[in-house]
Amino acid sequence: MNSNIEAGILGGIQVAAVVAAAPLLNGFIKKIKARFQLRQGPPLLQGYRDLAKWLSRSEHIAESSSFVRVLAPAGVLAATVAAVLFVPVFSERTPLPASGDLIVVVGLLALTRALLTLGGLDSGSAFGQMGSSRELAVGALVEPVLLLSLAALALQPQSTRLGDILAFGDAHPREFIGLGWALAAAGFAVVLVAETGRIPIDNPDTHLELTMIHEGMLIEYSGRSLGMLHYAAMIKQLLLAVLLVNLFLPFGMARFDGLPGYALGTTLVVIKVALAGFALAILESALAKRRFFELPDLIGAAAFSAMLGAGVTVLFA
């Protein structure tokens, strides 16, 4: 009985931590990018100030919007936070291990994409609908890559629970790391860039309507709804970063249990996520945005590598 309460508290802490740290990672990436462009860049905590600004502002609603205008932001944020419940952040123990696995996480991410695009379509403005159309096109290509890369990892531990994958990776590093793992990691990296709307697939900082995918859908939103949507985007970014680092570099996360385990886990996660953020920032500064209709080649390559990874794992496991 007490283990349930303890797990519940730990789960709550994990969710709260992720929700709290999300804007920080975003600020960190912006700061590194600015440094590369030899400029000061916004302060690390600017993300929090932006959120506070949006959440307190009044909203301007389009006449032509329907009940979807209310449903979309609420649904997107709820789904994103719900996804955090099934992801191992500080150790291999996830808040609700028996209730969901990688398929549920993929499903919840798909739910966020669906509600976000519906929100974009709601008001009828061409920019929002263009954003939705492109987000769905990219999303449709990304989903198989996401599933296959995670499935490739799930083959060896014979379980799709993310916690088990992490524990297996930590316990048998030699079998875990291999060609299959590398290909799956490459695939997942492209997924991370695509889902968070980073260059070379999408440009997060632009306000040029015709080029933005993710920002396009939010164009009709203002005030608190806009704040919620941005917040959900930041949480998803942190969530995917955590997934990338924890599942593909699970070393040391499941070594001890109890307080010392969490401490070690937390420090490792913070370092790894920072490194990931750093890498993302380098990527954004080095590359330019690809033309939209060239994306299938990039995501297609990722899909191929994820599929190959899964195949290799099967044949040589």
């Binding site: 506070a52 959440l55 307190s56 502002r57 009044s58 909203e59 609603i61 389009a62 006449e63 032509s64 329907s66 609420a74 944020l77 709820a78 789904a79 936070v81 719900a82 209730s99 969901g100 696995d101 398929i103 549920v104 499903g107 798909a110 669906a114 695009t117 519906l118 379509l121 709601d122 008001s123 009828g124 403005s125 061409a126 609908q129 939705s132 159309s133 492109r134 769905l136 096109a137 999303g139 449709a140 290509l141 989903e143 198989p144 599933l147 296959l148 799930a154 083959l155 014979q158 379980s159 629970r161 164009i219 608190r224 919620m228 209709f293 299938p296 599929m307 899964a310 195949g311 099967v314």
Partner: protein
């Protein structure tokens, strides 16, 4: 208890047929009311049989010496009987206010329901084949209606012809098994002792014969033509229930009759299913008529169910019965879930048709505000069919993917493992495309502002219809959340077919597969429902209430008009280009200039995605057949001498041969 439930259901349906001929009762639509009642009874009987797991038999009469009409409802058949009952109930109630009163339809509709039921609970080969052709005939009559426009007539004829030819394969497959166990009774037919080539032939015949009815690619060409022309309540019945009888046939032959079988059978089935799923949803994305979108989406969902069946066959051939049970459970659960949301979407299409007189999404728009009830129900249906939590579509997709990933793991042959993983990838792609397809359908049709006066003037057609839609939407959500108990209800089928139940459902609504993997739809739903209002309450506490102001949509300073919105075609343009090599889209752009000025006066765009299978496979075949028939026709040249020569030749050949 179930057999007299079945008997009363049959008599009610026959009474419905007879009542249609009584003009006086016309206004009360006795046929539909009786059909609804009968469907409810059938649903009850079927649910009870699957729940308890024991079969019930009912012998009717003997139309001829070696042909007896006999019913036998066993757990596998009862699942599909339940689907027919449930869908029949919803469609009949919906039809009371939706369907125009045509005496012929009132006669044929209950007959169609009766045939559907008899197919699912046929006890022997003769009853099955008689009901199978009767079902094809009845649905043909409903699709044909008064045969008014030419495409509707052609669609109906193509459908009847393809089904009639496919029935020969079905009969051949049954007879191969019947000859082996020298009995035509389903209970005693067992082909496990068949030699491998003969059993494979029986299996392939079954896949071709039943695949045509199910709509598997490349045998699907009748489906997207026949469903849209039928009245909505008939399309719903065809898409949600009739198509499943094809899958029931494949399951009956592949899993029950042919014993463990060969792994490559499963691989063939899984590949056909995956192809149907991906191509089905891709074509659905390119369609503009709602009913054609839903018809292609039926091809997709049939593909998903076939993947489940294929996995079950392959895994059972390799002896991994736990995973095979999971795959079979996934297939059956998806069959029931599909019945829920496909019926909902087709009936909502009927409601839209009645309200806005068109189903072309490029001429709708803004219906969410005009038809709130239909809009909300269609949104629920769209999210469910796109397999998104917390709806029922996600539950069956989860079990399917979990079974496939499990099949990909160690323990089986490499071929099965690789195929399972590739198919899992294909299903994920299908899921992504399905999200795109149904967000497009719902978004373009229901959101934004009306593109035509009819769309703007649309109003909720009738409370009964809205009521049925809301009930179905609630059903999608409820069966999503309670899918653990639905799976427990289904367990009698894997237990009967594979010898071991494949999944347990614990009290907390958590679903655990014996092949490994747990999942709790209740927890996910609670999390979503709790987390949705939480941030807003927190924000209200911290930042106080946020005021709202109304205003027109921002369109770069120009007055916002409905033509500025995206249309269905433009919305699916990115995906059309991404999958260009598969879809081979065609387009013509004509630019007309005004005298010398460089500004174009008129740009005319026309584009289409060709129906590849029809144009590259079926039409050339038909042309060849007509050409060769024309050549052979010269044999009847009209000259008596030639005819005498034929006789002389026949006589000479026989005299020489027979010595």
């Amino acid at each position: 208890m179930d057999d007299n439930l079945l008997a009363t259901c049959m008599t009610l349906l026959l009474a419905a047929c007879v009542s249609s001929s009584v003009p006086a009762l016309g206004r009360f639509r006795p046929a539909l009311v009786l059909s609804a009642l009968a469907s409810a009874l059938a649903l009850a009987a079927a649910v009870h049989v699957t729940g308890t797991g024991e079969a019930t038999t009912l012998t009717l009469w003997e139309p001829s010496r070696y042909a007896t009409l006999e019913l036998r409802l066993d757990p596998l058949g009862a699942v599909f009987a339940a689907i027919v009952g449930g869908v029949g109930l919803a469609c009949s109630v919906f039809a009371v206010s939706y369907a125009r009163h045509r005496p012929i339809d009132d006669l044929v509709y209950p007959l169609f329901l009766l045939m559907l039921l008899v197919v699912t609970c046929a006890g022997n080969v003769y009853t099955f084949l008689a009901a199978w052709e009767g079902m094809a005939l009845a649905s043909f009559a409903l699709v044909l209606g008064d045969g008014a426009p030419r495409p509707r007539r052609q669609a109906a004829i193509v459908y009847l012809v393809m089904t009639h030819v496919a029935t020969v394969f079905v009969a051949a497959s049954f007879f191969i098994v019947a000859k082996e166990s020298d009995s035509a009774e389903f209970a005693r037919m067992d082909g496990s002792a068949l030699s491998v080539p003969l059993a494979s032939l029986a299996f392939l015949f079954a896949v071709v014969g039943f695949g045509t009815k199910a709509g598997l690619i490349p045998l699907h060409i009748w489906l997207p033509r026949a469903h849209p022309v039928a009245p909505s309540h008939v399309s719903a019945l065809m898409s949600a229930a009739m198509v499943k009888t094809g899958l029931y046939g494949i399951a009956r032959v592949g899993l029950v009759f042919l014993g463990p079988g060969e792994p490559w059978w499963g691989i063939v089935l899984m590949s056909a299913g995956a192809a149907s799923a991906v191509l089905g949803v891709l074509y659905a994305l390119m369609e503009r008529d709602i009913k054609r979108i839903l018809a292609y989406s039926t091809v997709e969902n049939v593909g998903l169910i076939t993947v489940g069946l294929g996995a079950a066959v392959a895994l059972r051939a390799e002896g991994r019965d736990a995973l095979a049970g999971a795959a079979l459970t996934a297939a059956l659960l998806h069959a029931t879930n599909h019945a829920w949301f496909k019926t909902l979407l087709f009936l909502s299409a009927g409601s839209i048709q009645r309200a806005a007189h068109t189903l072309n999404i490029d001429r709708l728009g803004g219906l969410a505000r005009a038809l709130p009830a239909t809009g909300a129900a269609t949104l629920a249906g769209s999210l469910a069919i796109a397999a998104l939590p917390p709806f029922n579509g996600f539950a069956s997709e989860w079990i399917l993917l979990r079974a496939l990933i499990g099949a990909g793991g160690a323990g089986g042959g490499d071929a099965v493992q690789l195929t399972s993983l590739m198919v899992a990838g294909a299903i994920a792609l299908t899921g992504g495309l399905a999200v795109a397809c149904f967000v497009r359908m719902f978004g373009i049709a229901f959101l934004g502002i009306g593109r035509t006066p009819e769309a703007v003037a649309a109003r909720e057609p009738s409370p009964i219809m809205a009521g049925v839609l809301s009930a179905l939407a609630a059903g999608c959500l409820a069966t999503g959340i309670a899918s653990a108990w639905v799976v427990r209800w289904l367990q009698s089928v894997p237990a009967a077919v594979l010898g071991a139940p494949a999944a347990q459902a614990s009290h907390g609504g958590q679903l655990a597969l014996t092949g490994g993997g747990t999942f709790s739809p209740v927890v996910i739903a609670v999390a979503l429902i709790a987390l949705a209002p939480l941030p807003w309450l927190l924000a209200r506490m911290v930042f106080g209430a946020s005021s709202q102001t109304q205003g027109p949509v921002w369109s770069t300073g120009v007055a916002f008009r409905s033509t500025m919105q995206y249309t269905g075609t433009s919305f699916s343009k990115p995906l059309r280009l991404f999958f260009g090599r598969v879809l081979l889209p065609e387009r013509q752009i004509e630019v007309i200039y005004h005298g010398a000025s460089p500004l174009p006066r008129l740009v005319r765009y026309s584009g289409r995605v060709p129906a590849l299978f029809e144009e590259r496979l079926y039409l050339p075949l038909r042309a060849l057949a007509l050409w060769s028939a024309g050549r052979l026709r010269l044999l009847q040249s009209g000259s008596v001498q030639a005819y005498l020569l034929y006789m002389m030749a026949a006589l000479a050949v026989l005299l020489v041969v027979a010595q």
